[in-house]
């Protein structure tokens, strides 16, 4: 940069600024500025031309005024004039003004671009740099349009100065970020990659940022950068700290460059080339070794730089996840940081360890630090570090240390920060469930959880306890006993009351033998909490009471008394009142047998994915949410095939599904004909989705909510009227008959005429992929069913049927699939197909499964079409025409003239015709525009030779398709199929 000469001091500017600073009030400032603006306007207007110095001074003043927050609507021209000056300072001020006050005025932009172009092509490196900085600062689309082609050339030109190269690389990066479509690297790619070999470290540092950004978009093109980066890295790592001179920062050689190189390598899988890989491993080892060396300086900058490289190297090791040796070493290294006095280091170490824990190689190594981590959880001052420690504990937990970790987390929970309590609760609940060896431990843990942090225990947690207790006979007695004991505490959390009410209502009899927990004692204990609880809990307790009447007939009169009291039977809350009235009636009218049936023990819950896990994933925020979760979120947003009317349906169903039965009609529990069927009996599969949606929409987990709050419903549903029916949680509205094929299934079918692989069907729940191969008259099809949700599909069944006469034409055999698809999992089904004779219909595939209790039923057409059995036949022009003439009977020919649905691209047409299975014959038709094909359809019964001619008319955008084959039905069908394709 040229030294500022004495004349460039710009006294006027300094005076102006000090005037403004001395202004007493806003008004005075505005007055001063107005005066100055008027002065500048008169100067710019003045007839005699201003010299560069004054122009620069006034432009500076304008810039200052603009930065004070005033509008500037002139002076652009003068600034552009400054650009063409030869003095550095004048040019610099000009560029500064343009970068700050860029104006989308078209003429001006042209002038600016022109000036920039001049500077770029000048040989003066400072001017080039100024121009590049200006482009990068503005970074607009116009700039990108004008210069995106120019800058790569400067970047790779041999004679460009290093400093300019640096600027050019960063400028290009900026343009690429703002308008990636305009920056086309293409031919420059390899030369840009070779900048990694540049002598000048600054250029390498700048270039690597660019390469990292570019390679994230198209990793394949930049693949070569891996080996270059590795060799560069190894040179830096192995260099002595004095080798790099300017680029050594507190005894660490080129720390920024090293970090960037390591980050670039993280964009790629481990190098396949053994030598490169060896070198890289060596580098990583050196970095780890260096970290062990005693520090060369006590300065914090030295350790910062060193650790930055180390952490970047560790993330690379974790990214590769293939070097057990390195992983363990990294883990040990991080272990040392766990007790470092730098808070940031502890945080980073814990964070990296979380990822290390998930790797199979280093899991064990991470586990050795358990004591330190637990200690960190207890004694750490910084809450964000504690949070990480909790995360790490969760990540390193397995069967061997679960008890310890859960105990530690539970004890920490009492003092934990409020912000992370809910997450901690969820984690404890998950770990307890996941690694529970005996379920009494699990029950203890969760009850403890509710006792310690009741407010943070979400619904899902206690639903889950109840699900598990109900499903496992061996813990029921223990659970009842523990709950009973827990409830004896003078103050217990409402969630505890809920769990207690539910479990005692179901299994109170198991502990009734003990005189200390006799039925009446149990009842009194529960009822002592009653008045402290909220309405939903009270409702649950009422259900528990009616269960008590069944379990212990001796309590009947006491409970009836309670139900009859004004506070129940005349409760202002409709739900409570209704329950009280209904239960009272039920207990007085029904005989013991009926009562016993109605109030039978709850049936086991179907196994499903823990809802807690889903909740935790949600809590983690968008960053950690898996694809499934996103899908679910979308569904909640409500974009199902139902469309507009769905809203109404959903709400209608939601209300009828809610726990409040309509007062009069359901009094006797005749919910046999749920309003759902009456509402839309024809809606078929649509309704199923809507139904499950209703649950999701309501509060996200209504489907999990069924057991507790709906207990009364199911009780009622089995009322005296239909006491023989088994309790089924949600009313099933969908018939078990296979649904009619989806309306779009024909379209789906057409998609597969010319290809064998792809996605057959996709909705919010399910994705069906297809892969098929055909030989002669035989075919094999692989169907892949993917569960897109996080919830299991149960009773998943598929059937393939051939309707009507297809049965005699096609022989289809399918293997059965597993009836259970885990959330996010995929299962495969193989279908063997044999073509007996030519056919025109397609076999049907029916899929049934239960998703969240609701039956899903859908039918698709399998993409098996006659053309799949084509055997291509090559023939010469003469042969073709001879055969063409032979098949001249009118019924053997099928012809169709139709409009083009897609663009008439020759290559696409060829690909489609080939995909159809026939041989495409070149040089047969006299008109080169036309296509002719020949093939033989192989069926078991016979072979059908077919010829095809397709005549495109580009002008009219029409096609004429003529198919001739030895069998009339085949010609017709082929013609039908193909006409949809073009």
């Amino acid at each position: 940069m040229p030294a500022v000469s004495k004349g460039d001091g710009m006294r006027g500017l300094a005076v102006f600024i000090s005037d403004i600073r001395n202004c007493k009030s806003k008004e005075a400032e505005i007055k001063r500025i107005n005066k100055e603006l008027a002065n500048i306007r008169s100067k710019f207007k003045g007839d005699k031309a201003l010299d560069g110095y004054s122009k620069k001074k006034y432009v500076c003043k304008l810039l200052f005024i603009f930065l004070l927050g005033h509008d500037i609507d002139f002076g652009h021209m003068e600034a552009v004039n400054l650009l063409s000056s030869n003095k550095y300072t004048e040019k610099q001020i000009g560029y500064l003004f343009i970068s700050v006050l860029v104006n989308s005025n078209s003429e001006l932009i042209r002038l600016i671009n022109n000036a920039i172009k001049n500077d770029l092509s000048s040989r003066n490196p400072t001017f080039m740099c100024l121009a590049l900085h200006c482009i990068a600062n503005v970074g607009s689309r116009e700039m990108a349009e004008a210069f995106a082609g120019e800058i790569p050339r400067i970047l790779v030109a041999g004679d460009t100065m290093d400093s300019v190269k640096q600027s050019a690389a960063l400028c290009l990066l900026r343009l690429y970020k703002t308008s990636p479509d305009l920056v086309l690297m293409g031919e420059w790619t390899s030369r840009v990659v070779h900048l990694l070999n540049d002598q000048h470290m600054g250029v390498v540092t700048a270039a690597i940022s660019l390469i990292t950004c570019l390679s994230q978009k198209n990793p394949d093109e930049f693949k070569t950068c891996v080996s270059l980066a590795v060799s560069r890295l190894s040179r830096i790592v192995s260099s002595a700290s004095t080798d790099l001179q300017d680029y050594t920062y507190y005894f660490v050689p080129a720390p920024w460059l090293s970090c960037k190189l390591l980050r670039l390598l993280q964009c790629y899988p481990p190098p396949e080339d053994g030598a490169v890989k060896g070198r890289l491993v060596e580098c990583l080892e050196t970095i780890l070794n260096k970290a062990q060396e005693p520090p060369k300086s006590k300065k914090v900058q030295h350790s910062n730089a060193k650790n930055a490289i180390l952490f970047e190297a560790i993330s690379l090791i974790i990214h590769y996840d293939s070097e057990p040796n390195l992983l363990v070493r990294a883990c040990n290294q991080l272990g040392q940081f766990l007790q470092h006095r730098e808070t940031n280091l502890r945080y980073l170490a814990l964070e990296s360890m979380c990822t290390l824990a998930s790797s199979e190689f280093s899991h064990e190594a991470v586990k050795t630090h358990i004591e330190t981590v637990i200690n960190a959880l207890k004694t750490e001052r910084d809450v964000s570090v504690r949070q990480r420690a909790a995360d790490l504990l969760y990540a390193m937990c397995d069967r061997s240390n679960a008890k310890q970790i859960v105990a530690e987390m539970l004890s920490y929970l009492e003092t934990a920060d409020y912000s992370i309590r809910e997450e901690m609760v969820l984690k404890v609940a998950i770990l307890a469930e996941k690694y529970a060896v005996d379920y009494s431990w699990y029950v203890d843990t969760i009850l403890n959880l509710i006792r310690i942090a009741g407010d943070y225990v979400s619904e899902e947690v206690w639903y889950r306890v109840i699900q598990i207790v109900i499903n496992r006979d061996d813990v029921q007695g223990y659970a009842a006993k523990t709950v009973f004991e827990a409830l004896q505490a003078p103050a217990c959390h409402e969630n505890m009351v809920k769990v207690g009410g539910y479990i005692l209502g179901e299994f109170g009899n198991l502990i009734a033998g003990d005189p200390r927990s006799s039925p009446l004692v149990q009842f009194n204990l529960l009822h002592s909490k009653f008045h402290l609880c909220s309405v939903p809990t009270r409702a649950l307790l009422l259900s528990a009471y009616i269960k008590f009447i069944n379990l212990f007939p001796e309590t009947k009169s006491t409970i009836q008394e309670v139900l009859r009291s004004d506070s129940q039977i005349r409760n202002s809350d409709v739900e409570l009142q209704q329950r009280a009235v209904e239960y009272l009636k039920l207990s007085s009218i029904a005989s013991t047998d009926v009562l016993a049936t109605v109030l039978e023990e709850m049936p086991p819950f179907p196994e499903r994915e823990s809802s807690i896990l889903a909740k935790l994933k949600k809590k983690k925020g968008p960053g950690a949410v898996s694809v499934n979760e996103l899908e679910e979120g979308k569904r909640e947003g409500g974009e199902l095939n139902g469309g507009g009317e769905r809203g109404a349906d959903t709400s209608a169903i939601a209300t009828s599904n809610a726990s409040t039965p309509s007062p009069s009609a359901d009094l006797l529990g005749l919910r046999a004909g749920p309003p759902v069927t009456a509402a839309a009996p024809s809606a078929g599969s649509l309704l199923v989705d809507v139904f499950s949606e209703a649950g999701v929409n309501d509060d996200g987990f209504l489907r999990d909510l069924e057991p507790p709050t709906e207990s009364s419903d199911s009780l009622l549903a089995e009322g005296p009227g239909d006491s023989d029916s088994a309790p089924t949680p949600p009313p099933s509205v969908v018939s078990e008959e296979p649904a009619p094929p989806l309306p779009e299934s024909n379209e789906l079918l057409n998609k597969f005429v010319c290809k064998n692989n792809g996605v057959l069907f996709e909705n919010q729940l399910l994705q069906i992929g297809i892969k098929s191969e055909y030989r002669q008259n035989l075919g094999r099809m692989y169907l892949f069913y993917g569960n897109k949700t996080s919830v299991q599909f149960v009773t998943f069944t598929t059937t393939v049927t051939c309707p009507g006469e297809l049965q005699s034409q096609l022989n289809v055999q399918s293997k059965t699939v597993e009836p259970l698809i885990e959330g996010g999992a995929q299962v495969q089904q193989v279908i063997n197909i044999e073509c007996l004779s030519d056919f025109s219909d397609a076999p049907l595939l029916n899929i049934k499964f239960r998703y969240g209790g609701a039956l899903q039923n859908l039918t698709l057409k399998l993409p098996v079409t006659i053309n799949k059995f084509f055997q291509p036949t090559e023939m010469l022009s003469n042969d073709f025409f001879q055969r063409w003439k032979q098949l001249s009977q009118p019924q053997q020919e099928a012809q169709k003239i139709f409009k083009a649905n897609h663009a008439m691209d020759t290559e696409v047409l060829k690909a489609k015709l080939l995909g159809m299975g026939m041989a495409l014959l070149e040089n047969v038709d006299p008109n080169p525009e036309n296509f002719v094909c020949a093939g033989v359809i192989q069926t078991k019964a016979q072979q059908v030779g077919s010829l095809l001619r397709l005549e495109p008319n580009a002008q009219a955008q029409m096609y004429r398709l003529t198919v001739r084959s030895s069998k009339d039905t085949v010609s017709k069908r082929l013609c039908e199929l193909l006409a949809e394709q073009f």
Binding site: S25, R32, N34, K35, L37, S42, F44, F74, N105
Partner: protein, 441 residues
Amino acid sequence: MIGGLFIYNHKGEVLISRVYRDDIGRNAVDAFRVNVIHARQQVRSPVTNIARTSFFHVKRSNIWLAAVTKQNVNAAMVFEFLYKMCDVMTAYFGKISEENIKNNFVLIYELLDEILDFGYPQNSETGALKTFITQQGIKGQHQTKEEQSQITSQVTGQIGWRREGIKYRRNELFLDVLESVNLLMSPQGQVLSAHVSGRVVMKSYLSGMPECKFGMNDKIVIDKQGKGGTTDDPGKSESGGSGKQSIAIDDCTFHQCVRLSKFDSERSISFIPPDGEYELMRYRTTKDIILPFRVIPLVREVGRTKLEVKVVIKSNFKPSLLAQKIEVRIPTPLNTSGVQVICMKGKAKYKASENAIVWKIKRMAGMKESQISAEIELLPTNDKKKWARPPISMNFEVPFAPSGLKVRYLKVFESKLNYSDHDVIKWVRYIGRSGIYETRC
């Protein structure tokens, strides 16, 4: 009620802070500074609500006065109090400036204790205040017990604004009718809005406890009397150009000494005046206003870089009267690069800092006309938005009341002392000033 009162300088530093109620914390001081004084966008509303706390502010030169409350108070009362407070401070130490406030802060706290009690405004009559809040240090020694008890009985008595035993050799009184006339006129000369707000300010030097009666040409009174058949108007239209005899007053407010019950029943204004200067009444009229000046603008755009402006002003009152301090302000576009002005009378100058041409005339008689023409050079800009053409504004002072108000009489009765109405020397003066007097161009 007012919870607290703060005075800030232009930088937002607190000069005076007096909190009257517990619901106002110290953080209120900062809240106002941050949200109003230092606000990004200029706060134009005089009432600001921040966190359920209301701030009422007025600005005098560079000083902010803010009254704070958490309750739902009568906003008009608060502002009235703030203005009164400004008057009191001006009466005590002159101009309200940062320096004066800093120099008199003890006095100000003393005053604040006196005129506000637990947030309720108290006696703010300067004359009365000056008897017991003085600037001469402790007066206790010199004051006799009698004097002290006299002050107490006066301040707490029925007529708190006047003490007994005042004696003047010459009984004299001065009556000023001060009006400001506001106008907005279209370029074609159509009146878009106009109103006059006026004040009657009285300075009385009267002995004893005189009973005064003030009469003016209020339409309601005149009409009532007209029905009664008595037309004793003292002189028809001495000043101004109005030939009408009565005016319609839209609303009016009085000094606390005026007996409102009498005004309500008889529409007569009778009172025992305070000693010295005070504002007897305030009023507003909107009908039949005499507009002292007419501004006729003519703006022509010559190309993109030149603007020609010609403005004619016509005085519209009796030729015998002289208007003073006339100032016409012609806004110029924001891209003005040079101005040439020619005017027949007075002086005209382009003031770049205010983006306006200011034309000043010292004196001008009625029924005259004068004009100015200016050529404005413009700098071509790439800004597409057009110049908004702000209105031409005007300032002046005329020796008559533009509302047409006339003082018909001011009678003084003092039964105890021996002087009659005829012995009192009375002076009446009319001054009309411009308020916001604008003409669009």
